[in-house]
């Protein structure tokens, strides 16, 4: 083992140009895959295609001819019922109908959505505004017609008359951004006092995907640049830090190249692979350089120095790479396809980084001329007096440290219990992003841009027309209307009531459901006779076996959707559905709570699973149960501390946080392994606890750990300026993880070693 690895290093030192040339060739092969990149930004793909909720969602979409919706709001502060504004609604709707990818037949707008009205003894099924009214009286009639009508009020027109909405169904979610841009071009062409807002989950999700890659292209290089600056401040030699920077870039290139080459799509999660790989790849370089600076003054020969450094470090570096790779590979057990890909390819990336560290770094270091290294040779020994003091105190007051550590841990655990799990793809954008603004304004205006569906399924045809089923739907809606987040509900029962009302000359007394199945059937037939064959399809399926209640929510927070779902469950428990009727939810907001649940639970399980696997691996590598356990503590601590902090700060536990916590697998363990390995080596040599601790804490090992914590903590700060909140989270979380991993390793490990020396140091 040792032989093989050291042979690799020796070869690289002896034939540096060969190694660099081969690396270049391999890199070219991997980069050649990049043009084949396939991007998938649909969060729905977080779920397996066979996931029941996803299958049902597709079924509902098919049964009810429903497609994902973009909502366009047109607002005018002094009211939308003015000829020029109405003219714009008509013009904009007409143009939207012509956009490719828009399902024209299902667009909902004042000018195309049918209403049932009575006038002069005649029943009329037609849109409220087939053409723009000219006289004040006509406009007043129009206002009365739509505001009077539950199928339009708070849905297509706001109840204060200030805004109108157009609902635009699109063929698939992945064209939402493109269609959105075309819609934008249409309304930006208009002049006047109106304001326009475009919202809806598909547009948020697709736009996110679009901006994500832009952000990656801006933010990842910024992080790389900052890491380089921090490294330069530490090591002050560009020529020495360049190899480390190069291998972090190369391991990203190789990994992404393999992934693309194997035909995997780049998903929201896998787009984060570069950001995760960079710090992991840099860590080994920092250890090597720190040790290089320590050894060179003594040996004054780069070849000898490199071989000595690697001889000292190859084992901990191999351990850290192996544990990190295995830890991430373990994510492949998760039930979430993108998480599997993410885990496996980071795992591969870690192995690439290790391989490059063993070959490219020694080769590249050989190319730095001895002349340039003279100044290093004159430097005094590497080490930090501050860390040395910390080690001393931690060791001598070990029980105090362990006790305070335990208290901190308890506090962190309390913080974890206050964690609120919540997510909302719209909130992946910062508060001032147009999507967030549109979301806020539109949800104030109409009954909600988050559209979920509550489906009633009967066992036999025409069951939905049964009066008791209709009455149950009505009751459900009346109840839903009292739930604060629900802004609007619409269903087939509303249509039946409307027809009844209109047939009886708009007498409020008849705005009720008729009591016979025949009447209900005939009213619906009458409505269908006068409109397109699929006019009612959004509300009822073809055999009248299933009905669909549109439930519009003013918030897309998973927490809120969960609340609504629970309230409905309560209602159904107290008011059982008619015989043979089953209720089920679907729609994007509901889909999101499902993948959130899977994601949170799945990631948690996978991370805990990885923790156990790494523990076992460490016990084997260290050949000691207690050292293995000790080395695992920083990982557990740093995750608990980071989560606790999130809990206390009132932040929400969302998808990005769940993903970030896996980085602990890469960092927390690394720090501890280096610490434990180097300390044990010294202890084996000296059999002196205090001297060994002094060497570890006061010398190169602790300093390298400290430097790594600083590099990672600072290096990812640029992410805080990203316009997408998941990247902001990544930046903050990486910082806190690096900080807590560093702190637990450097502050508490000496104390733990001291307190439990009986267990740890017996031989």
């Amino acid at each position: 083992m040792k032989k093989a690895i050291m042979k690799l290093v020796e070869f690289s030192v002896t034939r540096p140009w060969t190694v660099i040339f081969l690396t270049l060739i391999l890199t070219l092969i991997f980069s050649a895959q990049f043009p084949n990149i396939k991007i998938d930004t649909d969060p729905e793909n977080m779920l397996r295609e066979t996931e029941p909720v996803r299958v049902f969602h597709q079924q509902v979409k098919k049964d009810f001819g429903i497609n994902e919706l973009i909502v366009l709001g047109i607002v005018r502060d002094d009211g939308i019922f003015q000829p020029d504004s109405l003219e714009k609604i008509k013009r904009i709707t007409d143009e939207i109908l012509r956009i490719k990818g828009v399902i024209s037949d299902d667009v909902l707008s004042l000018t195309v959505t049918n209403n049932v009205v009575a006038g002069g003894g005649t029943l009329n099924v037609r849109p409220p505004m087939p053409s723009v009214p000219e006289t004040g009286e006509d406009i007043e009639n129009l206002r009365r017609e739509v505001l009077d009508n539950p199928l339009f009020r708070d849905r297509l027109v706001s109840s204060d008359g200030k805004g109108a909405a157009i609902y635009i169904p699109i063929e698939s979610k992945d064209i939402a951004h493109d269609v959105g841009e075309k819609i934008k071009a249409i309304y930006e062409n208009e002049q006047g006092p109106e304001k326009y807002y475009m919202a809806g989950l598909p547009i948020a999700e697709d736009t996110f995907g679009n901006e994500m890659f832009l952000q990656m292209a801006v933010v990842a290089p910024m992080a790389g640049g900052l890491i380089m600056i921090v490294l330069f401040i530490i090591f002050k030699r560009i020529s020495l830090i360049i190899p480390t920077m190069i291998i972090s870039m190369l391991s990203v290139t190789w990994t992404m190249g393999t992934m693309i080459g194997l035909g995997f799509t780049v998903h929201i999660m896998s787009s984060m692979i570069p950001v995760f790989l960079m710090p992991i790849a840099v860590c080994d370089g920092v250890h090597i350089l720190s040790d290089f600076y320590e050894q060179y003054p003594r040996l004054k020969d780069r070849r000898k120095t490199i071989l000595t450094v690697f001889d000292e470090l190859y084992k901990p570096m191999f351990f850290t790479s192996l544990t990190t790779a295995v830890g991430f590979a373990n994510l492949a057990w998760a039930d979430i396809p993108p998480v599997r890909v993410f885990g496996l390819f980071i795992s591969l990336g870690v192995l690439f980084a290790w391989f490059l560290t063993m070959t490219f770094i020694p080769a590249a270091l050989m190319l730095v001329s001895e002349k340039r290294l003279i100044s290093i040779a004159e430097k005094k020994a590497v080490g930090s007096p501050m860390l040395a003091r910390l080690g001393k105190v931690s060791l001598s007051k070990s029980r105090v440290f362990v006790a305070s550590g335990a208290i901190l841990l308890a506090t962190a655990m309390y913080g974890v219990t206050t964690l609120s799990v919540n997510d909302n793809p719209v909130k992946w954008f910062k508060k001032d992003h147009t999507i967030r603004i549109a979301d806020r304004e539109l949800n104030k205006l109409i009954g909600g841009t988050y559209i979920s569906y509550l489906t009633l399924q009967a066992s036999t045809e025409d069951d939905i027309k049964r009066p008791e089923v209709m009455n149950y739907i009505e009751g459900l809606q009346e109840y839903l209307d009292t739930v604060p987040i629900v802004g609007k509900t619409t269903s087939i029962a509303d249509v039946v009531k409307r027809v009844n009302y209109v047939l009886h000359d708009e007498d409020k007394k008849y705005s009720i459901l008729p009591s016979s199945k025949e009447a209900i059937g005939q009213y619906l037939f009458l409505f269908l006779m006068s409109s397109a064959p699929d006019e009612l399809d959004n509300f009822v399926d073809y055999d009248f076996k299933k009905a669909n209640i549109w439930v519009q929510l003013r918030s897309g927070d998973n927490r809120d959707m969960t609340y609504v779902v629970n309230r409905v469950e309560d209602y159904v428990n107290n008011n059982p559905a008619p015989e043979g009727i089953k209720l089920e939810w679907s729609g994007l907001p509901y889909l999101n709570i499902t993948w959130q649940r899977l994601m949170v639970v799945g990631m948690l399980e996978a991370t805990i699973g990885s923790w156990w696997v790494i523990l076992i691996l460490l016990i084997i590598l260290f050949r000691s149960f207690w050292w293995g356990l000790t080395a695992m503590l920083p990982l557990g601590f740093s995750v608990l501390f980071s989560y606790g902090l999130i809990g206390f700060s009132g932040q929400e536990y969302n998808m990005p946080v769940a993903v970030c916590s896996t980085l602990a697998l890469g960092l927390g363990v690394d720090f501890a392994i280096h610490f434990v390995y180097r300390f044990r080596e010294k202890y084996r040599e000296t059999q002196d606890l205090e001297a060994s601790m002094q060497w570890t804490m006061g010398g190169e090992p602790a300093l390298a750990i400290f430097r790594n914590a600083v590099v990672v903590g600072i290096g990812f700060l640029p992410l805080v300026f990203a316009t997408l909140t998941p990247y902001v989270t990544v930046g903050l979380f990486f910082g806190s993880l690096a900080f807590f991993s560093g702190v637990t390793t450097l502050v508490f490990l000496p104390a733990l070693t001291g307190s439990f020396k009986g267990l740890l140091l017996r031989t």
Binding site: T122, N124, D462, A519, F525, S531, Y542
Partner: protein, 262 residues
């Protein structure tokens, strides 16, 4: 003398028909397809089928009487058998050239006859993929007709006519019709939407000859965008049965005579 003239006329007929203008072809087609006989009666079986194959059935008796010449006034009387919950519903249309139809519907559950507005001729006919225009025709002068080519369709020689509406009163931009040169029945029609894409397709699927009139007894209208289609079969088709004028009244809407609806 007269007899010879007629023979002479008949001999020249094929030559004359070749010289027909697009407008004349469409006019003849309307006559053959929508105005055949003095009156017309059929049991109509309508299947509304979704893309995924789900069906809704409509079954009705349809009575039609012509008043005046081809393209002129017509009256329709429709009695529904299926779906079951609309049995006894009846529907009546007075069609006028050049202005909106009059339509009445009888709702048995509340014993009420209601007039239904008919502003839009491209709205669906009883919820099918056919529009009122597809059933009762479009005013000849509303479109510019051009004969774009002649070609064979399913072994029949056809005129291919492009009809472009003069006003934007419909939901399509133009229509192509394949009209049989011999009997002037339309074999196929293709409608193109405002984006220029194919929107719906009519096909005549089976023909019969009833009392000497060539008749399309099976037809399909398919909506290309939604994949939805409507298949129509005529059973018990008959012409010139002597439908009385008084049938087309509110009184008979409520109480349709068995003789005429069975």
């Amino acid at each position: 003398m007269m007899r010879y003239l007629i023979i002479l006329f008949v001999l020249f007929l094929p030559i004359q028909s070749q010289a027909l203008t697009a407008q004349e072809i469409v006019k003849k087609s309307q006559k053959a397809f929508l105005y055949q006989g003095k009156d017309f009666k059929a049991r109509v079986l309508m299947k509304l089928i979704t893309k995924s194959g789900r069906e809704r059935i409509r079954e009705m008796t349809m009575l039609r009487k012509n008043y005046g010449t081809s393209g002129g006034e017509q009256k329709y009387f429709i009695y529904f058998f299926k779906p079951a919950d609309v049995r006894d519903m009846t529907f009546m249309v007075y069609k006028y050239p050049g202005r909106d139809d009059d339509r009445w519907l009888f709702i048995p559950a509340i014993n009420m006859v209601k007039r239904i507005a008919a502003r839009d001729k491209t709205s669906s006919f009883v919820g099918s993929d056919f529009t009122y225009e597809d059933i009762s025709g479009r005013d000849l002068e509303d479109d510019i007709h051009t004969l774009i080519k002649e070609e064979k369709l399913g072994g029949r020689e056809c005129h291919v006519i492009k009809s472009r509406p003069k006003a934007g009163d419909v939901n399509y931009s133009y229509k192509l019709s394949w009209i049989d040169k011999e009997n002037f029945l339309p074999l196929k029609e293709k409608f193109y939407d405002l984006k220029g894409d194919l929107m719906k397709v009519f096909t005549a699927d089976r023909f019969g000859e009833i009392k000497g009139y060539p008749t399309v007894v099976e037809r399909t209208m398919k909506n290309i965008r939604s994949g939805h289609r409507t298949e129509v079969t005529f059973l018990k088709t008959d012409y010139n049965t002597g439908i009385p004028d008084r049938l087309f009244s509110e009184r008979f809407l409520k109480r349709p005579p068995k003789k005429w609806i069975k």
